[in-house]
């Protein structure tokens, strides 16, 4: 194959053209829009850094940013629960495949369908209230999704519930790659079952932990569907469920403040970049350790 041949470029052309049109061009446009007053229907007008100034002074933006950062808490919880579940389903038991499949169901059902079912679980007339009342925990129903303090935790719970089965499959594959000898050695050294997992499983799962940390935290930063359905498109009372992406959507497509929303998008990009740099550092450290 000669170096001058056009062949490699022909193979790459469709993908590169699509990426140029649907990723690179939009990034450049968003940067430009973020310095303009723009409502999609009328042409953008240059206003310099006014959108960013407005953003810094906008309490809703800071609230949304706080919510997105709080949302990152799902990552450590997901990692711990998924590893626990992987260890449980790694036992050789009859019918274990059926259980593994059952745990995976929430991951494939789609966030909108799941969100609707959860909305009704937590409805004033929902299953959660009637169960809690019949158990004597509550005396009268709580309006869960109208309770500002409850909206974000319920959305996070939903993300965790839907994610554990998915991520545990990754950890399960990792567990099955850990040599049996290590567990035998741990047993001979007098490790209890719990210690065995602490000193053999967890270190052995390092690559999977890094992978899940990256994937689930990036997903948490971009959460939208759950909030949209649980709060019925409102973002919750007093913006109690508004995240950065929800705020972006609301500004851009509901209020048609596309210029302002573009500034939000740039902030989102910066956060993601910082996050990715941290993640790459973590990955590098792992490579050194290996």
């Amino acid at each position: 194959m000669t170096r001058r041949s056009p062949t490699p470029y022909l193979f790459l052309a469709p993908a590169l053209i699509l990426i140029a049109v649907f990723v690179l061009y939009p990034i450049l446009s968003v940067i430009y829009y973020s310095f303009t007053d723009y409502s999609i229907s009328t042409p953008p007008v240059w206003i310099g850094g006014a959108n960013y100034q407005k953003l810094i002074g906008d309490p809703t933006f800071w609230l949304a940013l706080t919510h997105s950062v709080v949302y990152l808490l799902v990552t450590p919880i997901l990692i711990v629960l998924s590893i626990g579940l992987a260890i449980i389903v790694n036992r050789r038991m009859r019918g274990i495949h059926i259980f593994r499949a059952l745990y995976y169901i929430p991951a494939v059902s789609g966030s909108i369908a799941i969100g609707i079912s959860w909305r009704w679980l937590f409805d004033t007339n929902g299953l959660i209230n009637s169960a809690l009342i019949s158990l004597g925990v509550l005396h009268e129903p709580i309006q869960w999704l109208s309770e500002p303090a409850a909206v974000l935790p319920i959305a996070m719970l939903l993300t965790i519930w839907a994610g554990v089965g998915y991520y545990s499959v990754i950890f399960l594959a990792g567990l099955q790659n850990i040599p049996e000898d290590l567990y035998d050695a741990a047993r001979i050294d007098g490790c209890s079952d719990l210690q065995k997992h602490r000193y053999v499983s967890v270190p052995g799962l390092r690559p999977q932990i890094v992978f899940v940390a990256v994937i689930s935290s990036l997903a948490a930063l971009k959460v939208f569907d759950e909030i949209y359905v649980l709060t019925n498109k409102t973002g919750g009372i007093l913006d109690s469920g508004t995240t950065v992406v929800f705020f972006l959507w609301e500004q851009a497509f509901r209020l048609t403040h596309a210029g302002y929303a573009s500034a939000i998008a740039i902030v989102l990009l910066l956060i993601t970049l910082i996050f990715s740099v941290v993640n790459v550092r973590l990955l590098d450290r792992r490579a050194e350790a290996d």
Partner: protein, 295 residues
Amino acid sequence: MEIARAVELTADTRVASRGARPRRRLETTFWYIVLISISVVTVLPFAWMLLTSLKGPQDPIFSVPPQFIPAHPTLANYDKVLHTLPIVSFFRNSIVVAVSVTLLSVLVTALAAYPLSKMRFKGRDAIFYLLLGTLIVPVQLTYIPSYVLAVNVFHYYDTPLALILPNLASAFNIFLMRQAFKAVPNDLIEAARIDGAREIRIWWSVLLPIVRPSLATVAIFTFVTSWNDFLWPSLMLHTRDGMTLPVGLATLQGLFSSDFRSIAAGVTMTIVPILIFFIAFQRQFVRGLAGAVKG
């Protein structure tokens, strides 16, 4: 391997005293209780949806204690939803979009992955890092310009094309395919080149058949992602008959407001097909997820 373990197990039980057997049985029972409890947590919302969707008007949806099994089971709720919402069209649209995205995306990304994994050419590293960079970009960032493109340039607003074209060149899929191609021995490709095969022919008849499992993984994940995609389709689809399932489903709440039996019927109808799909391809799902980490 399996046999060795079985022998080991029988040897274990033979050596162990009689007291060990009830203990083991107790342990097994304990783990089954744990497994079943977890299943209750994962399946309960779905089971509750299904049962509620079958409830007749006399059956309470809210009662203390909660009533699970409908006393007057009926399919009337399904009938009502099917008459109010074009669920069949939603299905057809979702299938058209997900199948097109899957086939075209596999094609485009497998094409791009070949030179990136098996050819030397100017700019290869630059292109590779460019693709790597696009992985970080949150897709929501692109929605405002993509919306403008859809309305003003491509004029595909409110058509399936709007959901297909922007989702074809997934950098993630290119990486998975590149990884798969890298594992193919160079000798095979060299031999084909000596035989005078053209590159496109080598790609089609030598490489693609070898990496079929990876193609399947990429295809299934692309399909499920496209099937469940919501935010971008909700921006692009306006006419009700043109909506995909998640977008149509989201209108369900507004239409039936507090008629939970009908909402439950609508949700159940949309979840069942994807569950069947998942059960059919379960092995590929698991293998794909497990392999993604190594890549």
